[in-house]
């Protein structure tokens, strides 16, 4: 009787409460009317005590709304349990849908009130292995990875081109064999991997540690990077950092047998030279006279840049001997050179001229000597720098002299410049030992030169050794370069004392070795080993309150590590330097710009891969006898692993590139297949992609005349976007990849599939099984004739198991329509597949299409889950109760914008938690230990 009465009161009060609550701030009243009775009725029978109660939960203690304040994390658990229908258990009385919703709404409001503006518990984190690689790559402007690591997918990155806004209908995608080598800076180097967080990502600070072993790895790897002979070649930035100041560079020596070229007598005709850059002491006309005289005596001549008829590549350090008759000059270039004709330039003398071979390597030194005659030296030198069509900027030539002195000449090319002749004359008793060519300020990638003309003279009295004349000390030069390098390496402005710290490393090493580049390499090694490089720190700021906004540089870092898994680029730096990045309009514009950058493929290769657990794709080992189609080629080495990885990635990338609805991740009317996957799916006749593509072309709104793949061209690399024949396919749930990852080698596992779905698609993962789970296969019962499903149903008869399995199994059952490699099936063994199921909230379905219907009917659940996953990845932390309102807000904005992918990203970036940080400033941080904390803004 009493029971009945209270139920009646509850119903009445709920109705009243729900309407009154909308506009009222009286949460205490609503708690008394609504929540407390709910707890009393549905919860506290079991959860009545923190020791004796189920799950150690005491919900009886909450007698007033205020009493929740110190227990909000507990209430997040309560919230999730009610929200996912995990509680109350299925065999207990269930609250009405309205009551459930009203209580959830009340808890959400409570979270919003208590957690307003909380930036969240974000723990200092270091770069992941992927981020480390990318940061070093971008810091030095490399086009290859630093080392090989498993997170780098063996799939050609060219496939991802977000600059366009529509994916092509067909893409050729090359795939490396897993583990196969590919070009990197350091083949033997690497870092240990990062573990992933429970139900989370690898970039979570709270699960990352540094140990002596890891530190050792960092210091060692940094040493390998700076010591790489390849790095200065691949990286202009690094080259400029470590190259000795001009007057300190050693002459290039070489023992290789030289290429001999015959000198020409004539320097470029006056008509072909429109300007000259010369010293008063040696105008071009006078040089011509000297040259003619020297040619006559066989002690001078012109190297016209031509080697052979068809041009040639000269390897760095390879000597060229220019013969004049009596004597010869040896030219050794520090960089590889090309001897070639240029359509866009007028050669000083045909047919060829010289230029840098490596694209962008526009600064290098030519060592010049007279090797065979001890009594002759180069006294005068001239060279033509041809103008190149459309190219502008300054070229600087510097002649280095034996004394250590230099003669520097520059010319600024503009659009109507012609060829320019440079002349140099060494002072008496000195001579030319090298010519530095510096076209690094030119707009193009190549610096051209032609007609190197030499005049040799009698050797002057011996000059006592090379005298190093340095205008600035090596330490000053190093310091200046480090001051420019550190803000990029640390991705923020640096203080004077920080520059000193690394300049000191240079000084110590330079004092010991006397080698500029060696000392600079060690300084850079220290920079790459330091916490300012390795960690993404957001330090506390005095008097900034409990929560502070991120400064512009911190924001640039969060943004670039979120979208690119790498450091900010020049544009982000500039906006941070000028303090504009924090403006919401700028921030949104930058976010959208970054999504259109090829580097955004990390969202697919890192986020999507971790989210969908595709990093497990390669570990699947389907039984070779049962699933022969999985294996092909000699010894079955050609597996379907890569294809199963590519399909979901292409869907994700299509949604990114075309800015489509994220709901297509669970249900799309198209998918991407190659011939092998099409065969697994039974698409077309025997996997005839062309038929599929034709069909797709018919439905497409594309302009007609689109080029279709020709049958002969279609290989395993060929991926075609096709419409799915029916809703059995479409979306990641029904793709071979996820279906295989969640299977055992010999059979499906509805439990694994169900758990995968709860964790990835709904982000409400089931709990780990409790200890002493009765085994699925009971030796005492002969159940070998039963389907997996039937066995599971027996298992669920146990109520302790049913609590979780009621949630886990139904989606797994729907997916029983697919076998262990994702082929559609209607029977398992001799029994028909039963793909029906009932969700905890009572909705039922039959088969994958209807499961997708149910997921779409409750689309806010998937939307929320996707936002939560991506936000957790973007924030590098676990989400908690205080994030509930933020996620809700984003959910609304995303729903209002047709669930567009970019809207999700933009809203996360613009959200409070992304732009702020907890700023716990306590007394025990002594003022003395803190350098000027307000570093910026």
């Amino acid at each position: 009787m009493i029971h009945l009465f209270s139920a009646l009161v509850l119903v009445l009060s709920t109705v009243a409460g729900a309407t009154a609550e909308a506009g009222s701030s009286d949460d205490a009243g609503a708690f008394d009317r609504l929540v407390r009775p709910f707890l009393t009725r549905h919860c506290v029978d079991c959860h009545f005590d923190s020791e004796l109660g189920e799950a150690g939960l005491d919900l009886a203690q909450f007698e007033t709304a205020g009493s929740l304040r110190d227990h909000l994390p507990t209430w997040k658990v309560v919230y999730d349990q009610i929200d996912t229908y995990a509680m109350p258990p299925g065999d207990e009385e269930q609250p009405s849908a309205a009551d459930r919703r009203a209580v959830l709404d009340w808890i959400e409001r409570k979270f919003a009130a208590e957690g307003a503006g909380d930036a969240g518990h974000r723990v200092l984190r270091r770069l992941t292995r992927l981020e480390y690689n990318n940061t070093v790559r971008d810091l030095f402007g490399l086009s290859i990875d630093v080392f090989m690591f498993p997170e780098r997918l063996p799939i050609d990155p060219q496939r991802f081109d977000p600059v366009r806004d529509r994916m092509p209908d067909r893409i050729e995608i090359a795939v490396r064999e897993y583990g196969q080598k590919y070009p990197v800076l350091l083949r033997q180097a690497g870092l240990p991997g990062d573990g992933r967080a429970e139900h989370g990502f690898q970039n979570r600070g709270d699960v990352m540690n540094v140990s002596p072993l890891l530190l050792d790895e960092y210091v060692t790897l940094a040493g390998q990077i700076v010591g790489s002979p390849q790095l200065p070649v691949e990286s202009e930035a690094f080259h400029r950092l470590i190259e000795p100041p001009v007057s300190m560079a050693p002459a290039v020596a070489s023992d290789d047998k030289p290429i001999v070229v015959r000198a020409k007598p004539e320097f470029s005709a006056d008509a072909a030279v429109t300007a000259e850059v010369s010293d008063d002491s040696l105008p071009l006309a006078e040089f011509r006279g000297l040259l003619a005289e020297a040619v006559g005596e066989g002690v001078g001549g012109v190297f016209d840049g031509t080697i052979g008829d068809k041009g040639a590549t000269l390897k760095a350090g390879f000597p060229i001997q220019v013969g004049f008759g009596e004597t010869s000059v040896r030219v050794v270039s520090e960089a590889s050179l090309w001897s070639a004709g240029f359509g866009s330039a007028e050669e000083a003398s045909r047919p060829h001229l010289l230029t840098n071979h490596d694209r962008g390597r526009k600064r290098f030194v030519l060592a010049l000597s007279v090797p065979e005659q001890a009594d002759r030296r180069i006294t005068c030198l001239a060279v033509v720098v041809p103008a190149r069509k459309g190219e502008t900027g300054q070229t600087t030539l510097t002649a280095r002299l034996q004394s250590g002195r230099t003669i520097e000449r520059s010319h600024r090319f503009d659009s109507d410049s012609g060829n320019v002749a440079f002349t140099f004359r060494a002072p008496s008793e000195d001579f030319v030992t090298a010519l530095e060519i510096d076209g690094s300020n030119l707009s193009g990638d190549y610096v051209l030169f032609d007609d190197l003309a030499f005049v040799t003279g009698a050797a002057p009295p011996l000059v006592a050794g090379p005298q190093v004349v340095v205008e600035h000390s090596a330490g000053d030069v190093a310091r200046r370069r480090l001051a420019a390098f550190l803000p990029r390496a640390f991705r923020r402005p640096v203080r004077e004392n920080e520059v000193t710290r690394y300049a000191t490393v240079f000084d110590h090493t330079f004092a010991a070795s006397g080698s500029f580049d060696e000392a600079m390499r060690v300084a850079v090694q220290a920079v790459l080993s330091s916490p300012s490089f390795l960690f993404l720190a957001e330090p506390t700021v005095a008097d900034a309150g409990r929560i502070r906004p991120l400064n512009n540089h911190e924001l640039a870092n969060r943004l670039s590590y979120f979208l690119w898994s790498s450091m900010p680029d020049e544009e982000l730096f500039r906006l941070a330097d000028t303090g504009r990045l924090r403006e919401p309009a700028v921030l949104e514009a930058q976010t959208r710009r970054m999504l259109r950058d090829p580097k955004a493929r990390e969202l697919s290769e890192s986020f999507a891969v971790q989210w969908l657990r595709l990093d497990q794709a390669y570990t699947a080992r389907p039984d070779r006898k049962k699933f022969q189609v999985f294996y092909s080629g000699p010894q079955g080495k050609g597996t379907l692993h890569a294809s199963m990885l590519v399909e979901p990635l292409l869907l994700f990338e299509t949604i990114m590139t075309e800015d489509r609805s994220i709901l297509e991740l669970i249900d799309a009317d198209y998918t991407w297949v190659n011939p092998r996957l099409a065969a697994v799916y039974g698409f077309g006749e025997g996997g005839d992609l062309l038929a599929m593509a034709d069909a797709s072309a018919g439905e497409s709104t594309d302009p007609p005349g689109r080029e279709l793949p020709k049958e002969a061209d279609v290989t395993e690399k060929t991926w075609v976007r096709v419409p799915v024949p029916d809703r059995t396919r479409g979306g990641v749930l029904t793709m071979a990849g996820p279906l295989t990852i969640t299977s055992l080698p010999g059979r499906t596992s509805p439990v694994k599939r169900g758990a995968w779905l709860l964790e990835t698609i709904l982000n409400r993962p089931p709990k780990e099984p409790k200890v002493a789970v009765p085994p699925l296969d009971r030796p005492e019962v002969d159940d070998s004739h039963l389907t997996v499903r039937r066995k599971l149903e027996l298992h669920r008869a146990d109520t302790t198991c049913a609590v979780c399995h009621d949630r886990i199994d139904p989606p797994g059952f729907a997916l029983e329509a697919f076998d262990a490699i994702g082929r559609f099936r209607t029977t398992e063994g001799d029994e028909a597949v039963d793909a029906t199921g009932v969700l905890p909230d009572g909705r039922s379905f039959d088969g994958p299409a209807e499961l997708k219907d149910e997921l779409l009917a409750q689309r806010q659940e998937f939307t929320r889950a996707f936002i939560e996953h991506l936000a957790s990845y973007g924030l590098g932390r676990k989400l908690d109760w205080y994030d509930v309102p933020t996620i809700e807000k984003i959910e609304d904005a995303v729903a209002a914008d047709e669930h567009r992918f970019s809207r999700v990203v933009v809203e996360i970036v613009l959200s409070e938690p992304f732009r702020t940080v907890r700023n716990e400033w306590s007394q025990n941080m002594s003022d003395a230990a803190v350098p000027a904390a307000k570093t910026e803004e």
């Binding site: 992933r196 140990s211 210091v219 940094a222 040493g223 110590h508 330090p539 055992l744």
Partner: protein
């Protein structure tokens, strides 16, 4: 099944020759470095195998001195007098996290089951790390953490593969590459000659940053600071270690061997070398991680890759037989390690005398994830800590922590309790 001899290709060239030369007596070496040692130092190794053992084939029927080798333990035939079989010790499962994760992560933890310090896990300073802090100080490496988990995927979290923890939520990082282990033992710092000034700079940077961080961030930065200090200390000790290996012709091992047995044997061989040259006194080795449902090839044992964890939950004789073969395979590796330690003379006996080398799992029956009645194999005497040749059956209700407490006390660590220990095991030594 006959024992497979180690492939020489994968091995350290010179190890064989080294073994044949008894003049390299670790005791004498230790004295040469000015330490007053009255006895050989105690050495401890903890070897973890996952997913429990197939009980019927593992546990001897009789306890005490007169016990017979079971099918799984048969490979121990020639070292039986050096082995102690321990059964019937218990741990308690802490609800809230996975049974497999906790089995490995908390096997050696000093935390009582009701003490949840790490998001639901009772991880805390593990027994090997407590030992290392007491007895590892003067060796170049306070402890060595090894693993043969070469799964390239991130299927499971670190709880499944870490048995050694510096503190709550702070696992020791394990070395999986034999070549890297070798460099750690014998190489100079790989950071280059200027490592000193590099470390000065980064320490300075870390201190500057540390002072400006909030509380939780400071904890993380402290890990970095401690790592720098530890590295500096190790560099000082490394030269001494280099001297110790002087005259040995050691060749860097190749990469991870493909064969499972060669991989495990190579790792244990490196541990033997480290003990022999007193480079470290505490070693942990994770033979395989808990659960981790990625199929694994056991070369020479099975023709096709299989999944240890799934087998424990598969019914029937066939699965049981396969499980027993995996157990026996691991016992073979353990037997080989025991023989190696016994071959090396030290003082008046052998290296094995000063060693306490144990192999075990965090659960007994993998089928039901049983945290009770745990099985351990122990090789050696631990410098008088244990009298081998017996099967000690504690019949349940004696905490595993009692064994760990006994170890700690024997090494001179002053602790009253360890995790949920109730007492020491006083019958280890006769």
């Amino acid at each position: 099944m006959p024992l497979q001899p180690l492939s020489r290709r994968t091995f350290l060239r010179g190890v064989g020759a080294f073994v044949a030369l008894p003049m390299l007596d670790a005791m004498r070496l230790v004295r040469a470095f000015g330490e007053e040692m009255s006895a050989a130092p105690k050495r401890f190794a903890f070897i973890y195998t996952p997913n429990g053992y197939h009980q019927p084939n593992f546990v001897p029927a009789a306890s005490g001195v007169n016990w017979d080798l079971t099918p799984t333990l048969e490979p121990l035939l020639d070292v039986k007098p050096d082995i102690t079989v321990i059964t019937g010790l218990d741990r308690e499962f802490t609800p809230g996290t996975g049974v497999h994760a906790q089995a490995g992560a908390c096997w050696l933890t000093s935390s009582a089951p009701d003490e949840v310090l790490d998001g639901g896990f009772p991880t805390n300073v593990t027994v090997d790390q407590l030992l290392s802090r007491r007895i590892g100080g003067d060796t170049p490496l306070p402890s060595l953490e090894l693993s043969c988990n070469d799964h390239a995927d991130n299927r499971e979290t670190r709880y499944f593969e870490s048995v050694s923890w510096y503190g709550p939520g702070y696992p020791a990082m394990t070395e999986k590459d034999p070549r890297a282990v070798f460099h750690r033992l014998f190489g100079k710092s790989r950071g280059g000659d200027a490592i000193g000034s590099v470390l000065d700079a980064v320490l300075d940077d870390a201190r500057g940053l540390h002072a400006r961080l909030g509380h939780d961030d400071r904890t993380k930065m402290s890990e970095y600071l401690d790592s720098v200090r530890e590295t500096e200390r190790r560099i000082q000790l490394a030269e001494r270690a280099a001297d110790r290996a002087h005259g040995l012709e050691l060749t860097v091992p190749a990469a991870v061997p493909i064969s499972r047995s060669e991989y495990i044997d190579l790792m244990t061989e490196l541990a033997v070398l480290a003990f022999q040259l007193d480079l470290t006194r505490v070693v942990t080795l994770v033979v395989d991680p808990e659960r981790w449902d990625s199929p694994r090839m056991y070369h020479g044992v099975f023709d096709a890759p299989l999944n240890h964890h799934v087998l424990t939950h598969t019914k029937g004789e066939e699965a049981a037989e396969k499980l027993a073969r995996i157990d026996r395979f691991h016992v073979e590796r353990f037997a080989r390690l025991t023989r190696r330690l016994k071959e090396i003379p030290e003082g008046d006996g052998t290296l094995l005398d000063s060693c306490f080398v144990t192999m075990g799992s965090g659960i007994s029956d993998g089928r039901i994830h049983d945290y009770g009645d745990l099985n351990l194999l122990v090789a050696g005497r631990g410098g008088g800590l244990i009298s081998p040749g017996r099967h000690l059956d504690y019949k349940g209700d004696v905490p595993l922590a009692n064994l760990w407490l006994t170890l700690l006390r024997s090494a001179g660590v002053k602790v009253d309790r360890f995790a949920d220990s109730t007492d020491t095991l006083d019958d280890l030594a006769l």
